[in-house]
């Protein structure tokens, strides 16, 4: 038990990321506010980023002379992507607000078949 608490290993990270993922998805499912949904998306992305780094570190760390940093790279990509995505999403919300006077996503059902 103490081992489990003292030595941080892969499952710890996976648990954290799972929690983040779950929180994100439930946020996305429950929030009607667009900003809230965006926050949920960010949480999901971060969960994925943590997984990348963790799997890289514990699974394929590489040798000392040539450490493998693929997971880290992906994490950075995700961060950048998240920033871009957030800016695009915010721009959409702004327009959305201009058109509907609110940012309630339930109002956006123009694409309904």
């Amino acid at each position: 038990m103490s081992d489990l608490l003292l030595t941080i290993s892969l499952p710890h990270f996976l648990v954290v990321s799972f929690l983040l993922l779950a929180a994100g998805i439930s946020t996305m499912l429950t929030k009607r506010n667009a900003i809230g949904i965006l926050i949920g998306v960010e949480l999901v992305l971060n969960a994925a980023a943590i997984n990348f780094v963790a799997f890289n570190h514990y699974g394929w760390p590489g040798v000392r002379a040539a450490p493998a940093i693929d997971g880290q790279m992906f994490a950075i990509f995700i961060i950048v992507l998240a920033a871009a995505e957030a800016s695009v999403a915010l721009a959409i919300f702004l327009n959305f607000y201009n058109n509907f006077g609110s940012i309630d996503v339930e109002r956006a059902d123009d694409l309904k078949a």
Binding site: I25, K31, I37, V105, K112, A113
Partner: protein, 717 residues
């Protein structure tokens, strides 16, 4: 090379180019800047050109060799040693004389036109066309090679088209000009073929044969078509008297061009119709240009034409001579009488050329040019005075109103009839009688050639009896026209009341031409006399020449046969028509005469034949070709396209039939799925998120279950 030749070359070049310059000036600047002055500008230019030509004529010295400048490359002909078809100029006595005649008449016609075309709305353009027309004719006369001649030949055709169709608003002229051009083109197709044959056989240059030897301006001898031909025939062991077939064929083909231009049978029908043009046009077309071009060409080519071609030419001339005179007998339109008379007179010239009477034929060309031009101008004055009326039956008694015109007409009537007393006569006398004398020799020679035994062969004798008979007929129909127009009492007085003498611009040329008609031939004889030997030298097998050469017998025959033809004909004409057309109408009712009269009046049904049959045939062929195009070729293509489409449809899965096509059923399935899944497309983001993650979770679970199950199975095994 003597300075004289250079001088003459310069003068003739100037004489040729001045009308072109004036035509271009009038064409582009006439309307805007010159206006009514155009007429005088053109006339003065023509007079300048005439001055040059006359100066060249007076500078011409006997026994000058023919001079040829031929150094402007035009079209390359890589197949021949010559390398290029060149452009250039040929000067010999014929050129000099023709240039003088053409420019002289053209000047007078220009002058006449100023009065005649007064008030026409396209006054300037008329003079531009007229000058261009003259330029084209001069181009023919000075051309050094046959190919170059063809260029101007066609230009004459085009400008005559413009002039005859000058009043193109009216139906008559626009049909007539088309007819003239098409008829000419028919002849030109032959010309082109003949040209091609000569080109292939004689090399590219085709320098026209000149009298005697020709040389360049620097004195180097130059080989004309005649010398080339002689050399080639010598190589082939042939001579012009026993020629190869191609030479005869080429000669006939080339003469086809002359048939078209000089309105010989069977392409003669355009000439009378060309009357639809303004009268000055008729007067120049019928005298110095156009119709003269064919005669000129034939005369030029005479040395290289084989005896077979000569016979062909003579026969064509003979037919034209007779039918022209017959039709002139019965026409009631004054201009048409003159037109058919032109046909007949051209027949004389062509007949004479065919018979080898080179000098007399050309003499007749010059003489005829002057008196026929004058006759047309008089006719124009009469029509002008009669307010556009052209019917002989409406005239009569005009001598009181138009004495000067009558005098001119009378002089020319005498000239064309060949009047003479005691061997001194008007121009027609010398040329026509000389021609007939030559024909006599030719007929006898033919008889000899076809009938070595000595029995008579009537066909050969027609060649001199027909011209003799036509000499009488000519005097008769001219007297008829003269009498009906000027003598007797007015048949339609109201017409005559307003008649008046023509203005001075029209009278002066008329008078001048009448004067020339009197003196032209004696003067021409004087000019010509010494050169006859030159032409006889290059045409060794033809008879003709001076009276001495023609021979005592022929001259005697001519004196007896036609010595008083003019008197008999004129007396007959005046007697029959002095009291109007009544007597003649009675005569025309006689059984035999009636048939002929109908034939003549209907112009031997040539027009009907051509319009109905030839044109109809062409139209039918055109229609057939068109139907073939649409109904056969195009229909086949369309049917093929349709068949391909049908075939493609029947074998392809892209069947237009909606049931049973596999591709379509895929589409239908997709459509059905779309209908089924449509509700999930709610537009609600949260639903999407749920679906996405839910299904991801489900898939993940399924995968895990499968993996564990497989593992469990593995352990079990």
């Amino acid at each position: 090379m003597t300075p004289v030749q250079a001088h003459i070359l310069d003068l003739l070049a100037a004489a040729t180019l001045i009308p072109l310059a004036s035509a271009l000036l009038l064409l582009f600047a006439g309307k805007r800047w010159l206006g009514r002055l155009s007429g005088w500008v053109a006339t003065l230019a023509m007079a300048g050109s005439c001055g040059c030509a006359l100066a060249a004529l007076s500078a011409w010295q006997d026994n000058l060799p023919a001079t040829i400048v031929f150094e402007i490359p035009w079209i390359p002909v890589p197949g021949q040693a010559a390398g290029y078809l060149n452009l250039g100029m040929l000067v010999d006595h014929l050129t000099v004389a023709m240039t003088a005649m053409v420019t002289l008449i053209a000047t007078l016609v220009h002058l006449y036109s100023i009065g005649y075309m007064q008030g026409d709305k396209r006054f300037e353009r008329f003079f531009a066309y007229l000058s261009l027309f003259t330029f084209a004719m001069l181009g023919i006369v000075v051309s050094a090679s046959l190919t170059q001649l063809f260029v101007f030949w066609e230009l004459v055709g085009l400008t005559s088209y413009l002039l005859i169709g000058f009043w193109f608003e009216r139906p008559g002229p626009r049909l007539a000009c088309k007819k003239a051009f098409v008829m000419n083109r028919i002849g030109d197709a032959g010309f082109l073929a003949g040209l091609a044959i000569l080109y292939c056989k004689l090399g590219g240059n085709l320098l026209l044969p000149a009298a005697g030897d020709a040389q360049t301006p620097s004195g180097v001898p130059i080989e004309t078509i005649y010398q080339t031909l002689t050399a080639i025939l010598a190589d082939e062991n042939a001579s012009i008297l026993s020629p190869p077939a191609w030479l005869t064929f080429a000669g006939i083909a080339l003469f086809c061009g002359a048939i078209g231009k000089s309105a010989q049978f069977p392409l003669h029908t355009w000439l009378p119709d060309a009357m639809e043009g303004p009268t000055p046009v008729s007067s120049i077309v019928h005298s110095a240009t156009m119709v003269a071009a064919g005669v000129y060409l034939t005369a030029r080519l005479l040395p290289i034409l084989t005896p077979g071609v000569h016979l062909f030419i003579a026969t064509i001339g003979l037919v034209t001579l007779v039918i022209g005179a017959c039709m002139a007998l019965v026409m009631t339109d004054i201009k048409r009488v003159l037109a058919y008379s032109t046909l007949s007179q051209l027949g004389y010239m062509v007949l004479g050329l065919g018979a080898g009477a080179y000098n007399f034929a050309l003499l007749h060309l010059v003489a005829h040019a002057f008196f026929k031009c004058c006759l047309f101008q008089c006719a124009g004055s009469v029509i002008h005075a009669a307010g556009g009326k052209q019917d002989l039956r409406s005239f009569g008694g005009l001598w009181r109103k138009m004495p000067a015109t009558m005098a001119c007409f009378a002089v020319c009537t005498l000239a064309i009839a060949g009047a003479s007393v005691m061997g001194v006569g008007l121009s027609g006398h010398y040329s026509k009688d000389g021609l007939i004398a030559c024909m006599h020799n030719y007929g006898l020679a033919l008889d000899e050639a076809f009938n070595p035994g000595g029995t008579t062969f009537p066909f050969a004798h027609i060649f001199y009896w027909a011209p003799v008979a036509v000499a009488y007929v000519t005097a008769f129909y001219m007297a008829r026209a003269f009498t009906l127009t000027f003598l007797g009492s007015p048949r339609e007085p109201h017409l005559i009341e307003h008649a008046h003498e023509a203005p001075l611009t029209m009278l002066v040329p008329q008078g001048a031409l009448a004067l020339l008609a009197v003196v032209a031939t004696p003067w021409g004889m004087a000019f010509w006399g010494d050169r006859i030997n030159a032409s006889a030298m290059i045409v060794p097998w033809v008879q003709g020449g001076t009276e001495e050469q023609v021979g005592e017998t022929a001259v005697e025959f001519t004196h007896h046969a036609v010595g008083f033809a003019w008197l008999v004909g004129i007396a007959g004409g005046v007697a029959l028509y002095a009291a109007g057309t009544k007597n003649a109408a009675r005569l025309a009712k006689l059984p035999g005469v009636r048939l002929l009269h109908t034939w003549f009046l209907n112009k031997f049904y040539f027009d009907g034949l051509y319009d109905g049959f030839v044109v109809g045939l062409a139209k039918a062929v055109a229609g057939l070709a068109w139907i073939l195009d649409r109904a056969v070729i195009d229909a086949a293509v369309d049917a093929l396209a349709k068949r391909v489409r049908e075939g493609a449809a029947s074998i392809s899965p892209f069947d237009p039939d909606p049931s049973g096509s596999p591709i379509n059923s895929v589409a239908f399935a997709a459509q059905a799925a779309d209908q089924a899944l449509r509700p999930t497309h709610s537009g609600r983001i949260r639903l999407y998120v749920l679906l996405a993650f839910g299904s991801a979770a489900l898939i993940l679970m399924a995968v895990l279950i499968l993996v564990f199950a497989a593992r469990a199975a593995g352990h079990a095994a």
